[in-house]
Amino acid sequence: MAPRTESPWARFRAEFAESRLAMAGLALLVVILALGILAPVISPQNPYDLAQLDVMDSRLAPGEKSADGRTYWLGTDDQGRDMLSGIFYGLRISLGVGVASTVFALAIGLVFGLVAAYFGGWVDTIIMRVVDIQLSFPAILIALILLAVLGQGVDKIVIALVTVQWAYYARTVRSSALVERQKEYVEAARVLALGQARIVFRHLLPNCLPPLIVVATVQVAHAIALEATLSFLGLGLPITEPSLGLLISNGFQYLLSGKYWISFYPGVALLLTIMAINLVADQLRDILNPRLRK
């Protein structure tokens, strides 16, 4: 059989494209990312600029017009905030918080996990016990306590999310690094008397990455859901700068009185975002997990 000539990247793309669902998820994710990134350009209103809101336009139904003739396609919330703009900006915050917290948590978890696996012994014991303790508490509980202490702000939310998430990565990295450590290429590197840092980061790390990528993608979705939960509970972001969770929370009390749109559309946006990420993550897992490979 002739060797395949395509590059690994091309193979990866081909495998990813095998699932239509995953491609749909990816397309959706690209659209959502674009909406989030371009929010300041495409939004009819800056929902965080109080001067642009008019309380006289509050709780208008989708499609109604404002006093100065603009149409609110998805209606307005109780402060007269355009829901469409609110959702675009909310996506921006959700995705930003999700990605930022994942990147930081990943970096921290990676270092601790590799160190624990490579050195073993008491270093491993200490790090993994801390991880165990952390994972034994519900994430939402730790985040709530942290935010109560830290106060409001996007940076505070990211800190809280990093704190509750790094342990997942540390544990994942450690388990795959433990397996890799036993392999011959690491032995070879040791025999060559390479520096420990070099062995850990240049040899072990790249081989531990695939499972980590899968966990990270799933965790982005988790982080977004957690941020929405915290905002829904009124913690985290200032009430004048609502993210999706806070928008849902604002409309929650109107659900029974028929003003569904204040909660409904941000809820849909949140649902689509998390769904798109999970579809992509599932396919990544299938490709990167050798055991699931056909």
């Binding site: 600029d49 109080l50 309380v55 402060q79 009124g234 009430i239 009185s257 003003k259």
Partner: protein
Amino acid sequence: MLRFLRLALAALAVLALPAATLAKEREVSIGLQAAITSMDPHYHNLSPNNSMMLHMFEPLIKRDANQKLVPGLATSWKAVDDLTWEFKLRKNVRFHDGSPFTADDVVFTLKRVPNVPNSPSSFATFTKPIVDVKVVDPHTIVFKTATAHVLLPSDLASVMIVSKLHGEKASTEDYNSGKAAIGTGPYKFAEYVPNQRVVLKANYGYWGGEEPWDKVTFKILTNAAARVAALLSGDVQMIETVPTADIGKLSSDKRFSLVDKVSNRVIYVHLNQRSDTAAPFITGKDGKPLAKNPLKDPRVRKALSIAINRDAIADRVMEKRAVPAGQLLPDFFFGTSKKLKPAKYDPEGAKKLLAEAGYPSGFAMTIHGTNNRYINDDKVAQAIAQFYSRIGIDAKVETMPASVYFTRATKGDFSYMQLGWGTESGEQGSSLRSLLATYDAAKGMGVTNRARYSNPELDALITQAMSTIDDKKREGLIQKAAEIAMADTALIPIHYEVSTWATARGFAYQARTDQYTLATGLKPAK
């Protein structure tokens, strides 16, 4: 034989049915917003408790639905001179156990009030001005005060009279268990389960006539959605404090009716004037501190007042459950001035005033308010931030739970403090004294003046009014004081809360300004 039995059963059922439904019709359940912390009428001075106590106990003087003073256990009262008050007591009144009510019970009550152990909020403040009590005859009693105390009748309207016979050896626990909870009121104690329910039974021998209900059950439903759900399911026949979001739905549903009434609670803004130089959370737009505290300038305060569109807040944020305010009480209360109207919305005028005061491009300020204390409090704060941003002020909003907020506001941590004030006495003099007189805790002046606003002219008028027994003269002085305070924008009144009750069809409730929910106000609708 069988046929006979069947017939007899049918006859019984026919006979029993109307009796059962009749009995049921004379029972009613009411959903309350807050827990009753005790059944001891002198233990905890808290609105939900005070409201509940009015069923079993009565004060010498009662307040009607508009908080006007009306005879209770006293039929009449008058100031003999500046320091002496004479009260005539109602005759032929009996406690729930049948023992007669006399002046001795009043004397006992006044003795008990300051000596209730562990009281979290004492009623002693109402009885403290009385330095001597003289019983002239079993139905005439004379009170002496050390200084002229014009609010004595109003104070006594907050003191429930208890039975000397049952109260002498009774502790708060004995009231909670019902053993000592024996008063003269229209309802008798039946059951008290803290945080869950209070059950009352009719007092058929009540001097004021029989009530329409044999049994009243108050259910504590602190969650607003649960309260509405209980009404919708028929579990209760009336609820208090209907959440604004549900008002639309309930008012369009023919099975229910809503009553509302403007309350004695004003939502207002105190502007921190403690320091001449520094104002917390106020900076220039560049983030640098300002040279002086802008809130000391009455032009800035006025600008911050006229920048607020009160009609928009009442209409859109409060969904019509608020009335724009121009002073501290709606203008049918004692001591209010008809001349004081809500400030007119004038953003251009506000900008001009800010420019005159030396802030042509405004400044940056954080708005601080509660998010769980008053109706839609956090939404009102956000709406006001909108209005301020239109006159060039960079407004940020920070809201927090009342437990955290009040401590920090009392310390003076904030510049813009959005608060509420309910005037239990029903006269504006007492609210002016608490909120705007120069702070002096020892004299009881300005005790809730968190802004530390100070105006000697206003102080003089308040002091004079508080020692003027003559109602007409006193009212004139209070009105003048209110006009001076509002002209100086001593604080910014926003609106009076409107309280809303919802009842099932077939019931009618007499809405009250003091936000009390009383079974005595609930009648079968005609």
